[in-house]
Chain length 472, copies 2
């Protein structure tokens, strides 16, 4: 190669590296400038530039990029993606965008892309396809892959069966370390791309132990696998994914075998899938507590309205119920309008206190720190906390009320109502999620409405009621 050609090749490499550096900011998020470069190239219809920019990105970053772009630009970019990268990008995309993109890709291209993925990720993508297209894509897949995907889809959503990959590395009990390693070298093509444990199975293919491959590497060739294997945490194929994540987190698992009801090994779950589940479950909890049902993150405005309006309507109803208390005291308010000024404070502080207790309880239930074992002690402790917080707030605020309005009886009514409401808030904030959990409902989803209603109602009733008794 001449000197100049070599320089040119170097320049090429430099330019690629420059693009990679430019693409991501220091925080590993996409740079706005890079996104503008993509948009510019798309506007100019510069296919070569687009391809160059996209190939500088990791599939996960292409997925992020697609998430940032408006729908029109997504369409422009799609054909410029490397078909092999498409598979990985698809499995990284959020549900809503993936659905939209799947519509515009041909069944043949899709089938080719899916062949690159593990069975769990491929099933995940196929699940989002509409019935017609799903049939076409499955028909275009090789027999074994179709079977793997169809079997994955036969398990319930959010179960271990859906999460697992069928590709596992198993070895009979009587093998030695050397036999296992020789076998892996020989059958290299049939092994999963990445694996962490060799499952030791009995003649009926029931897993009896696991050998981490770092142990395998360290052991002498003539060591029997049965001698170095460790005990297992078996995952039943129908276990809920939240449960699976709990077990992985608790016992620090890297991978775990998934077994059929009879105990036969059918697949494995690895910790990288669990990271996704944990993110998803915590996202669901945090949004549910705020009254946002899932969906609508990347969807259009209508999706967003649908994910939020139902809870707002429900809250309108409970708010109407709560203010009916105020209506009952209209005569008293007409006499002492200051009551109308102070009553929202009592209700609002109760609501805040309840949200605090509620959130702590929901989290503790999710992480199993709160259970039937210590429920009573936790509720007792919350009651004391509610009383203490109420007493402190009542002291501080009633002093302010006295300074502002100079009426001792108003002070007393306000302070007493505040203590009562903070106490009720603490009890309701702990008891409602516990009760919902006991009833088998998700405490994150429905607790807030109940509890807010209780504190609004109590706040208005206690304050106006006491005031009516001692003021008028």
């Amino acid at each position: 190669m001449s000197r100049e050609l070599a320089d040119l090749a170097d320049d090429e490499t430099d330019r690629e590296e420059d693009l990679e550096d430019l693409a991501l900011g220091e925080d590993y998020a996409l740079n706005p400038q890079f996104v503008s470069m993509v948009v510019d190239a798309a506007d100019r219809g510069d296919s070569e530039r687009l391809r160059e920019l996209l190939s500088a990105l990791h599939p996960a970053d292409v997925a992020d990029l697609i998430g940032f772009l408006a729908a029109d630009y997504r369409e422009v970019i799609l054909p410029h993606l490397d078909p092999e990268a498409l598979a990985e990008i698809l499995s990284e995309l959020d549900y809503e965008i993936r659905e939209e993109i799947l519509e515009s890709v041909s069944p043949e291209t899709l089938a080719k892309a899916l062949g690159e993925l593990d069975s769990d990720d491929a099933a995940d993508v196929v699940e989002d396809l509409e019935a017609d297209k799903r049939a076409q894509v499955l028909a275009a897949l090789p027999e074994t892959e179709r079977a793997a995907i169809e079997s994955a889809l036969s398990y319930g959503e959010e179960t271990a069966g859906r999460l697992m990959q069928r590709e596992v590395v198993a070895a009979p009990q009587f093998w030695t370390v050397g036999q296992a390693i020789d076998h892996f070298r020989r059958e290299s093509d049939d092994l999963p791309e990445l694996f962490f444990d060799v499952y030791v199975v009995d003649p009926t293919y029931k897993p009896v132990g696991a050998v981490p491959i770092s142990t395998l590497l360290r052991a002498k060739r003539d060591t029997p696998l049965a001698q170095i294997m460790e005990s297992l945490s078996e995952i039943p194929v129908d276990m809920d994914q939240e449960e699976v994540a709990y077990i992985f987190d608790k016992y620090h698992l890297i991978s775990a075998p998934v077994v059929e009801p009879g105990g036969r090994l059918v697949g494995q779950i690895t910790v990288d899938d669990i990271v996704g589940v944990i993110q998803e479950e915590s996202r669901e909890d945090i949004l549910a507590l705020a009254g946002v049902s899932d969906g609508g993150r990347h969807g259009d405005v209508w999706d967003m309205v649908r994910s939020r309006l139902p809870w707002l309507l429900l809250n309108t109803l409970t708010a109407a119920l709560a203010v009916s208390v105020i209506q009952a005291f209209e005569a008293q308010i007409a006499q002492v309008v200051t009551l109308a000024v102070l009553m929202p404070i009592v209700a609002s502080l109760g609501g805040n206190g309840a949200t605090q207790t509620l959130t702590v309880a929901v989290r503790a239930l999710a992480s199993r720190e709160l259970s039937a074992v210590n429920a009573l002690r936790v509720v007792n402790r919350e009651m004391i906390v509610g009383l203490v917080n109420g007493a402190v707030l009542a002291t501080v605020t009633s002093l302010a009320v006295y300074l502002l309005f100079g009426d001792v009886r108003l002070c007393i009514a306000f302070a007493a109502a505040l203590v009562i409401n903070m106490f009720v808030a603490s009890v309701a904030g702990a008891v409602v999620p516990l009760a919902l959990d006991r009833m088998g409902r998700d405490p994150a989803v429905s607790s807030a409405v109940f509890v807010t209603f209780v504190t609004d109602f109590t706040g208005f009733f206690a304050f106006l009621g006491i005031a009516a008794l001692i003021l008028l």
Copy 2:
């Protein structure tokens, strides 16, 4: 062995297995009955039974058990724990309980226990010790382990340096697969207990690639490592742990090398540590949104009060500011008391709408789905959603208001205020966390107070103001 002895041994094994089965419920949480058995044994002072019960548990479950028990019982149980299990139990315990338990264990026992842990977990425990005890424990440790722990503690809290373990498996570029495997067999004792990647390093100990050990197992013995190594995501030693978790999640990493500023390999982070970080960060966010500062989960009542009272006091202040609007309209309320009945609905629905938007925005910021790239589009979309939700709620509720009170002007004031407040709620819910994030503050911690104040204020002002204009 005689038949009877064998039976006896079988019985022994059966009993142990029975205890294990009894200990955990189907959901892998501790059974209340098992906890009662422990408490009974402790009450009776039956050491043998206690030891038997405790040895049936995985260290993670012992940690859970300790969390469930009252402080007195913890003291009773502690001496009955297997010293080797103690190390693992300590690293599983929650901060507050660990602190309490560390006080009652002798420095020598602690030093012995810490020797069993990886450097990151050991440092984690040492960090919780008081200065005196820390010095004693460190002095009782062997030189190399002391150095490892001291070096870990020299990095900032919640950084990669604190999270990493110093134990890594590295190999020079010119080695072949066979050389590497032979080396691992020979030096077996010096390797980390569990590892997933071999880092290929240059002569200055800079990592240049990684070979997953499943690839190593599959490759022919004469394959050079440089030929099968994959590209790396290097983690700077001072990177924030939230950032590290983001990178692991995004690129589905199992382990990653940690490098010093010069690029030298100093340790590795593995995905099982990241699972803990993700749980911790999402817990922090969810509690911060509810106005609970950390701490006080297992602490006493006083800890709980401390974690909640500050936010309640701050809310009292903002609530007082918001109701000052009501005070300005006292004359109008005295004339039309119904205003006092309806105004909390406007404020409360605004608060709910703002919480929804706020929570979605905080989550999206945390997962980098929301950034400078799409901030404007997201805020625009939120504005439309706020208007649509406001319009729907206004239609439904003003109809109800008309049916109840038969006053068209009251209806109009209520509907207009509701639309205004839902719009303001959406804007504030999106803009406040974005602004806090831009200012380098954690949007989860301080957004809610601001935003609730804005919607309370707007709700009262819009409703009472419009009503004053058109009703009176």
